[in-house]
Amino acid sequence: MDKIILVRYEEIFLKGLNKHVFENKLIKNIKHKLDDLGAVRITKSQSRIYIESDDANFDFDEAIVRLTKIFGIASVSPVVRVKSDYEEIKKTSIDIVGDLIVRKSCKTFKVEAKRGDKSFPMNSPQLCADLGGHILSKFPRLRVDVHNPDFVLYVEVRENTYLYSEIIPSAKGLPTGTGGLATLLLSGGIDSPVAGWMIAKRGVEIEAVYFHSYPYTSDRAKDKVIKLSEILSEYCMGIKLHVVPFTEIQTAIYEKCPHEYITIIMRRFMMKIAEEIARKSGSLALVTGEAIGQVASQTMESMLVTNSAVTLPVYRPLIGMDKNEVIEIAKKIGTFDTSILPYEDCCTVFVAKHPVIKPSLQKTLEFEKVLDSEKLINDALTKTEVIKL
């Protein structure tokens, strides 16, 4: 009897002849993520991936936690594998059920059996009925409920037989590294980490750019962004964080541009800097957490003006989402609690009381002329700190 982990994927099925490219990338990513837990053997069979370890100290629980965060994996099950011998199957079923009853105080169950190996003497319905009956005989207090059972015992008979009761939903998406590289404008807020995650989910590698305004904002704000990047990197294969010193640019804009336009102009500078960084790293798109109408700089008119600062495509995965929907995802992926820590990433000194909500591109360009944009941007890029997470 072996304890192993079963990994299922969904969308990779649809990849036809390229399926093995995605499968292999997924396996490579899994190996990387489980590397420090011990020696593992990863095999694929019939569009599933099996992970096992001969290491007695292998932390299965930790492995499962990490697996549920790997893009490309649809669900994970801790599985017991036995020979396809009915006596063994019966005995193992009893062990599993007994353990479940103690841990979760279940009262009802059902058996779902699938017979993949046609040489096995019983067919699926027979297997369900017989095994179910056997379990009832050993646990007289249990009842069968085929509609809404407290637990399901899954039995898959193939070359070996796999028994499990948990199907743990995982991050889904496509394996990181199958989609290219994108550059995320990351602030300490709730939205941008979620935007980054949603793009990463499609197999895209992410690098992040954070604009730091010390001493107007504290190093705690920077720590917060580092923490958010670390949380995101649990889902990807590492994230490069570029910390761009933004104080000089902010002060220049504040001193020389009309008050209602400072936010829009700041955002244009951020986009330009992000695009420069993207160009250097071979990234194919920028990613932001913008959503229509959320704040003054995110009206359609404003986004038109900020977008025209760059030529790279800008992905805005949250564009049509409500704040509540974004918060739900933030909580699910674990960034919410860090995002709501009070360390501001933009000092309120630099926020106009009445920012323009329908800026004109023409006026914006006029106002920007007084700034030595090239020099400001180059200075910021030269002093950018890169942190590998």
């Binding site: 010390y214 107007y216 009070p342 360390y343």
Partner: protein
């Protein structure tokens, strides 16, 4: 480095650090152990108790050691109500107390006590007439700090004690002397308080240690139960090395109190003069002229205090603020709110607090730094 944040915490005296290290290494016994090692630790503990008692003219048995000011305050407040709950539910305090007092009182309010707060003037000083007006025969506890940590205001605790005791001897008077000890004289023969809280790390002693003075005859219920240490009033293995450090720091500090305070006064005056001369109506001095000399609270009009703090830290100068940058608008300290400092001033308030190691030269450097910073901002 220029460290002007001594009201937050202080750097221990070198001799204190040496003493603690020596005792941790050589006298690590548990003062409750029956063997010689324990006995030696106990002797050190009791010697320290005597030493500390003499600095406030108290009897050694009137002192209990705790983990710091916050614990002492909680012990005083909760310990008193537990004993006097049948006598009444009325408690008086002030709105400028430290969070340790305010939160302990809030908790009592939650379980049915009636907390009333005294009126204060523009420096946070309680109005004696209001104390007289609000005191009742069934008031069980009055809780007032001797020196306010944000503004440096000295509260009239000696006078308040007389008033409280003439109304009703049984009303317990607790004085929070955390910021007062070593800065103004605390004399338990003149100060008619029943309970007084002290902290070690504000007077160049180690963190994690404090004491509670409990006047002979005053009963309180222990906060922490266990092995019965400190006459059953505060269980937990006694931190002898750090308490000894506290004792040494206290004797050094109280001895140099007068000269330290005079020097702090000069440092304070330099800052006030330099800043007033260059920034005149752009600054507001929130501290009273007759407050303790080691605390100076100044507001800078229309500036954000946390930004000033970070600009100063870039120059290796450390201070504290009366407000924290936050998306929540109510990030202004409760003390500044209570004395009604207008919002645009309150958001730019900085607290400079001096200690034994600061010098007048430092004051000049800091004043110059501030002038530069305000110009840039």
């Amino acid at each position: 480095m220029i460290y002007f944040d001594n009201s937050a915490t202080t750097k221990p005296y070198e001799e204190v650090i040496e003493l603690i290290a020596k005792l941790m290494s050589e006298e690590f016994g548990n003062s409750s152990s029956l063997h010689a090692l324990g006995l030696r630790a106990e002797r050190i503990l009791e010697d320290t108790r005597n030493k500390l008692a003499s600095t406030i003219k108290a009897k050694p048995e009137e002192l209990i050691f705790t983990s710091g000011g916050t614990e002492s305050i909680n012990m005083a407040i909760r310990g008193t109500t537990e004993v006097l709950k049948r006598s009444g539910k009325h408690i008086l305090s002030s709105p400028v107390e430290h969070a340790a007092s305010l939160e302990a009182l809030k908790e009592l309010e939650r379980i049915g006590y009636q907390i009333e707060y005294l009126e204060v003037d523009e420096y946070g000083r309680i109005l004696i007439d209001d104390l007289k007006a609000k005191l009742r025969k069934d008031t069980i506890l009055v809780n007032i700090m001797a020196v306010n940590n944000e503004l440096g205001t000295i509260e009239p605790v000696y006078e308040a004690a007389q008033i409280i005791k003439s109304k009703n001897k049984a009303t317990v008077f607790h004085v929070d002397a955390v910021q007062a000890y070593g800065k103004i004289p605390i004399n338990t023969r003149d100060l008619n308080a029943d309970l007084i809280s002290f902290s070690s790390h504000k007077i160049h002693g180690p963190k994690g240690v404090g004491m509670l003075y409990i006047r002979k005859g005053t009963r309180i219920h222990p906060l922490i139960m266990g092995g019965g240490h400190e006459r059953n009033l505060r269980s937990g293995t006694v931190n002898v090395p750090c308490i000894a450090g506290f004792g040494l720091a206290a004797s050094i500090k109280t001895e140099r109190m007068k000269e330290d305070q005079e020097k702090c006064g000069r440092i304070r005056d330099i800052l006030i003069k330099e800043l007033s001369d260059s920034l005149s109506d752009k600054i507001r001095i929130n501290s009273p002229k007759d407050g303790v000399e080691n605390i100076l609270n100044i507001s800078f009009k229309g500036k954000k205090s946390e930004t000033i703090l970070h600009f100063l830290e870039m120059r290796d100068i450390y201070v504290s603020t009366g407000s924290a940058c936050s998306s929540k608008k109510n990030a202004i300290s409760h003390v500044l709110k209570a004395v009604k400092v207008p919002q645009q001033w309150a958001e730019g308030s900085i607290r400079f607090s001096f200690g034994s190691f600061n010098t007048e030269d430092e004051a000049v450097i800091v004043a110059d730094a501030i002038k530069e910073i305000i110009k840039i901002m």
